[in-house]
């Protein structure tokens, strides 16, 4: 059983904007029945060039239907310039998250939107120029590369979760790995511009990361951790339970807690333990 959020379930059981817009300004179809999911998106603009009406028809699992429904709700009222900026992560976030294995549904939503906008503008989306890497699901090198860049993917499994590439016979695994290695190589030589975080945002993200990524692991070993304060890039924490009496807890703080926070929040964070 997939762990879907209530929002995903709601949008699946009560999908918004099902159908096809009459006299649409643009209609785009992505996916195929052979691949297991497909989405047909149509929209119409108002006199101010904002999306006035948008509808979808989707063949696919519950999360494919939910992401389509969410997408239509999100972009209604947007200008095309605004809609163009919607990422697959935005769609997933709107639904309170998707299981990793289902992230490809959000990618399909973003692809359909992009294609519809391109069709409206009369430009051909560049994805079609790529060369097919995964025959089973018809995924091109450009699509894979883009998913890696936009979602910071690191493993073959990630790529399959986000694009489906590699989820069939497995013949393309070598080729996908090559793309991952190349793109990761490029990414690490020029670090991406990180948007500045405000202090409030930073604290919030640290809190969330500790809650979601760190405490569950520590609890498995009978330990726990509490965030005391954040001063600049110094994260002050107190350890509890098994961690508090553990010789190796300093190691845990550096190698696990700090590494996680650096990876997921901000690369310059330093974790310090305060004794209470």
């Amino acid at each position: 059983m997939w762990e879907y959020t209530d929002k995903v379930k709601d949008h699946f059981l009560h999908p918004r904007n099902v159908g096809e817009v009459e006299d649409a300004d643009a209609v785009a179809e992505v996916g195929s029945i052979a691949c297991g999911d497909a989405l047909k998106l149509s929209f119409k603009l108002d006199e101010n060039k904002r999306i006035k009406e948008v509808k979808f028809k989707t063949f696919g699992c519950a999360s494919a239907i939910a992401t389509s429904s969410a997408l239509t709700e999100m972009i209604k009222g947007m200008t095309l310039e605004e809609a163009e900026k919607v990422t697959n992560q935005d769609i997933a976030n709107y639904l309170g998250g998707l299981p990793q294995e289902k992230m490809h549904c959000s990618v399909m939503g973003r692809e359909a939107l992009e294609k519809a906008i391109a069709i409206y503008k009369g430009t051909v989306p560049k994805e079609t120029e790529g060369k097919i890497v995964c025959e089973c699901f018809g995924v091109t090198d450009l699509e894979i590369e883009r998913a890696i860049r936009e979602n910071n993917l690191a493993t073959l499994e990630d790529v399959t979760n986000f694009t489906k590439a590699g989820g069939g016979c497995g013949n393309c695994h070598g080729a996908i790995q090559e793309i991952i290695d190349r793109v990761r190589g490029e990414l690490s030589t020029k670090p991406p511009e990180r948007p500045k975080l405000s202090n409030i945002q930073k604290i919030k993200r640290i809190e969330e990361t500790i809650e979601r990524e760190i405490r569950p692991s520590l609890k498995l070993d009978g330990g726990d951790i509490e965030l005391i304060d954040v001063v600049g890039n110094r994260v002050l924490v107190a350890t509890r339970g098994a961690c508090a009496s553990c010789q190796a807890s300093n190691q845990t703080l550096k190698h696990f807690v700090e590494a996680k926070l650096r990876e997921l929040v901000w690369p310059e964070l330093v974790v310090e333990e305060v004794s209470q």
Binding site: I33, A38, T58, A64
Partner: protein, 393 residues
């Protein structure tokens, strides 16, 4: 809402009589059957009785029954034993539609240098016996074919296949996890060497299985340890579950008739009504040689996961061979091996009944499912109202 459980090929409810039989062996009668004292000895006697009950259901003698922890262990033990006891033979024959316990094991053995022939199946899920016969070679150590398929219920001609293997001196194993208790099986008249059973598929608890090994078949143990199971499977016996399985087998023998009358009638009603009420639907697999409790129906242009979640809203439990639910990105290997078209494979639902299902439950599903399919088709870009796209069905 009351749960309507139509997923009995996944697992079954422990029968009330079975639960009652096993409970004393957790707390009051916890002795070790191997102990010298009579406190343990009385448990040992009860195990003997269970072994007899299991043997009786499949026409075996008690000494041919080895208790294991599950069907997967039984499958592993059978195949590995065959390979170890005939080290000169390096070939295995099986089918494309086996349970992962066999499929994954064979893939693993391929990596270790064994040669595996996976027999294809036709559109109805049947193997070609001529092709099977041709696949048997002097190098073949063992054939492993499932008695009945878990997804479609299709029954393979196991007796005939086992005869062909025996006449060539090849060992024959069958994963009979889905068949035992649902259709008559008689090892006293069979050429099968080894057969796997899983307790939780026939109203015993999870975590108990059986490997039947015909007398005279060379056997090399999988779990090496104590002298239990006549040195064929080490490890202290799971006494409550073994006793439960014995009881479950006794009940299964009594209920076999019911499986093939009442359960079959309910299954047929469900299947026929759904096919009649829902256009562009079809049954996957041979409808003649099939378990009485299973139906696998495809609904064109919709995806199985959505159907299951909408059924779940009515507390109806079933399963699907769609990509989203198969744990991979492709539909089930069974439907793909049968060449079920994509338009159909993604929308397949398996209903598997038991003697505990009632006619009201079946009527409720027949009432609810058509509108679920209609709703999902209403969202599907491939479904044009009133227009049958695939004329072949």
């Amino acid at each position: 809402m009351k749960t309507i459980y139509l997923d009995n090929n996944a697992t079954t409810q422990v029968a009330p009589e079975v639960l009652e039989a096993m409970l004393p062996y957790f707390h009051d009668l916890y002795g070790n059957p191997s102990s010298m004292h009579s406190f343990g000895g009385q448990v040992g006697r009860k195990l003997r009785e269970a072994r007899e009950q299991v043997a009786a259901l499949i026409g075996a003698v008690p000494g041919e029954i080895i208790f294991t922890s599950c069907g997967t262990e039984s499958d592993n033990a059978a195949i590995r034993s065959a390979l170890i006891s005939q080290p000169e033979k390096r070939h295995i024959v099986t089918s494309r539609v086996e349970h992962p316990a066999i499929k994954a094991l064979c893939a693993h053995l391929t990596d270790q240098g064994y040669r595996v022939t996976e027999l294809p199946v036709d559109g109805e899920g049947r193997i070609d016996m001529d092709q099977y016969e041709k696949s048997l070679t002097p190098d073949t150590a063992i054939v492993s074919l499932m008695w009945a398929n878990n997804e479609t219920g299709v029954i393979f001609p196991i007796e005939a296949a086992a005869q062909m293997a025996r006449s060539r001196g090849i060992l024959f194993h069958t994963d009979a996890v889905q068949a035992v208790g649902k259709i008559p099986i008689d090892m006293s008249k069979s050429a099968v060497n080894m057969l796997s059973i899983s307790g939780h598929k026939l109203h015993a608890p999870k975590g108990i299985g059986v490997l039947y090994v015909r007398k005279g078949t060379k056997f090399s143990p999988f779990l090496i340890g104590g002298h239990q199971e006549k040195n064929r499977r080490g490890g202290t016996e799971n006494t409550p579950s073994i006793i439960a399985l014995g009881k479950a087998c006794e009940l299964a023998a009594q209920n076999m008739e019911l499986e093939n009358t009442k359960v079959k009638a309910l299954r047929d009603k469900l299947e026929n009504e759904l096919l009649a009420r829902i256009p562009n639907s079809r049954v996957n697999g041979d409808r003649v040689n099939r378990l009485p409790n299973t139906t696998n129906i495809s609904f064109e242009f919709v995806e199985g996961e959505g159907i299951l979640l909408m059924l779940d809203e009515f507390s109806i439990c079933a399963s699907s061979g769609s990509a989203c639910t198969s744990g991979s990105l492709q539909p089930s290997h069974v439907l793909r091996a049968m060449g079920v078209p994509f338009t159909m494979a993604h929308g397949s639902i398996r209903f598997s009944l038991s003697i505990y299902n009632t006619e009201e439950e079946i009527d409720f599903v027949i009432e609810k499912l058509p509108s679920i399919i209609e709703t999902l088709r209403g969202m599907s870009p491939y479904w044009k109202v009133g227009d049958r796209i695939c004329s072949t069905y």
